[in-house]
């Protein structure tokens, strides 16, 4: 519940959402850390069909649990959408569950700019250099079609926070394109967005071969929006991309033509 306290600062309830799958090693610590952050009243684990003890541990730690509605791979976007839909906080924070150095301050840093009224959506970034898909796919494409978003150091970062209501105004991509998709769509809606440096993030790196699907889906999410926003001619794109192979531009029945 939003309440006015001393001065002009507004305090809001915060929900922290962790998408997860087979993360029993991390879940207890992640939930406890999230509950320690100021104003966090709810922690949600959106499980992607774990076969280990992730769900039971999460419940024991007092988290709300839901299994993601559609067990597709990669279902990151489905999980994030379910998390946003189940949450009751004024602010929703999404954090990777397997951050080895996760602290409550790390989570607070994400949503504090919203509490201070400086932003409605916060994208987290880290000290380390941005990843390979970010540098080789996301940034060049953003520079081409959405140059105003090219200033973001890590546009694919999954550590984000936003007013709950803004997540109900946009569609979530199912897979890896979800983060950049949200960034573009929220920017188009006129949402006030900032990037917040969260410091150092200790996180497992994906092997190069595992990045092919991710790169494809990120490119697809950006190109689909570029067509929708009439930055690319649709008939040209369809003709050109038909040589690439099957690509779902999501244009059917969406009234983009």
């Amino acid at each position: 519940m939003i309440s006015l306290l001393h001065g002009f600062r507004i305090f809001m309830d915060v929900t922290v959402v962790f998408p997860s799958r087979n993360r029993e090693k991390y879940v207890a610590r992640a939930v406890r850390t999230a509950f320690k952050a100021k104003h966090v009243h709810e922690v949600i684990i959106v499980d992607g069909g774990s076969s280990d003890n992730t769900v039971n541990i999460a419940l024991k730690e007092g988290a709300k649990v839901i299994i993601q509605s559609n067990l597709v791979y990669p279902g990151k976007g489905v999980a994030m959408r379910d998390g946003a839909y189940l949450s009751s906080g004024d602010i929703v924070v999404f954090v990777d569950i397997d951050i080895a150095n996760l602290t409550s301050q790390f989570i607070e840093k994400l949503y504090m700019p919203i509490m201070r009224g400086e932003a409605e959506f916060v994208k987290g970034c880290f000290e380390r250099a941005a990843g390979r898909v970010t540098e080789l796919v996301a940034k060049p494409l953003l520079r081409m079609f959405y140059p105003e978003l090219a200033k973001f150091k890590q546009p694919l970062s999954g550590e984000i926070a936003g007013l709950r209501k803004i997540f109900y105004q946009v569609e979530f991509e199912n897979g890896w394109g979800v983060d950049v998709g949200l960034l573009i769509d929220l920017y188009n809606k006129g949402v006030k967005i900032i990037e917040e440096d969260l410091g150092f993030k200790e996180h497992e790196m994906k092997p190069l071969h595992a990045l092919t699907d991710m790169a494809y889906q990120v490119a697809e999410a950006i190109l689909k929006r570029a067509i929708r926003d009439r930055k690319i001619d649709e008939s040209w794109a369809k003709r050109y991309l038909s040589t690439v192979g099957e690509i779902d531009l999501g244009m059917e029945g969406k009234g983009y033509a």
């Binding site: 959106v46 069909g49 649990v65 839901i66 299994i67 993601q68 509605s69 559609n70 067990l71 959408r81 379910d82 998390g83 839909y85 189940l86 709950r164 209501k165 109900y168 105004q169 029945g253 969406k254 009234g255």
Partner: protein, 220 residues
Amino acid sequence: MRSIVIGGGHSAYFVITTLREIDPKGRIIIIEFTSEKIEMLKKTFPYAEAIQQSVDRVEEYIAENRSLIDVLVSATDSDALNLRYAKHSIKNEIPMVIAVLNNPLNEPIFIKENIRCLINPYKMITSKVKEIVNKFSVNTVYEFSRINGGIYALKIEDTRILRKVQSFILKKNLPFFTISVDGKVRASSIKNIEIGDVVYVVCVDKNIRDLLEKIVEGGK
């Protein structure tokens, strides 16, 4: 009957057409989130009212119209929303609240939240695969919504299973009937059950689990 169906997708289609079949004169209101779908719903279901609501206004709508609703079915493509709306509707004392699951794994979570009227469209996949592939299994033919019981089908594969099933039915005095390999329905006499028959028995699910433990080592 006044019904509200939340969602305008695949599951909702079957819910709406069934509600119409049950009560052709009943009022059906469909709540959908996107304007494109609203137009499509108006064309597909001309007898229903399709209204657009944002995700976070649905609860308000339910609360405001609670006295006018007999049945509420939450059939969106998100189990998170179905859980949220069903919980809210129960809290608002809607007489009948039904949730349609997208992911069968969410069934225990919904039950824990006291959402008893659950439709799990994927349950049939499990029982059908077992029926086709497994040597012995119990298939759930029908599950009662309000008690943990149902109508279960058991295939009599051999003499050992035949004896166990006969003794189970006799001991519990359960109603049953059998269907033979050639599709004939047999009288309900224990002695008439033969190898190859499928026995349909009505009981609580605990009985079935006990029987399975006796037949299959470690249960199934």
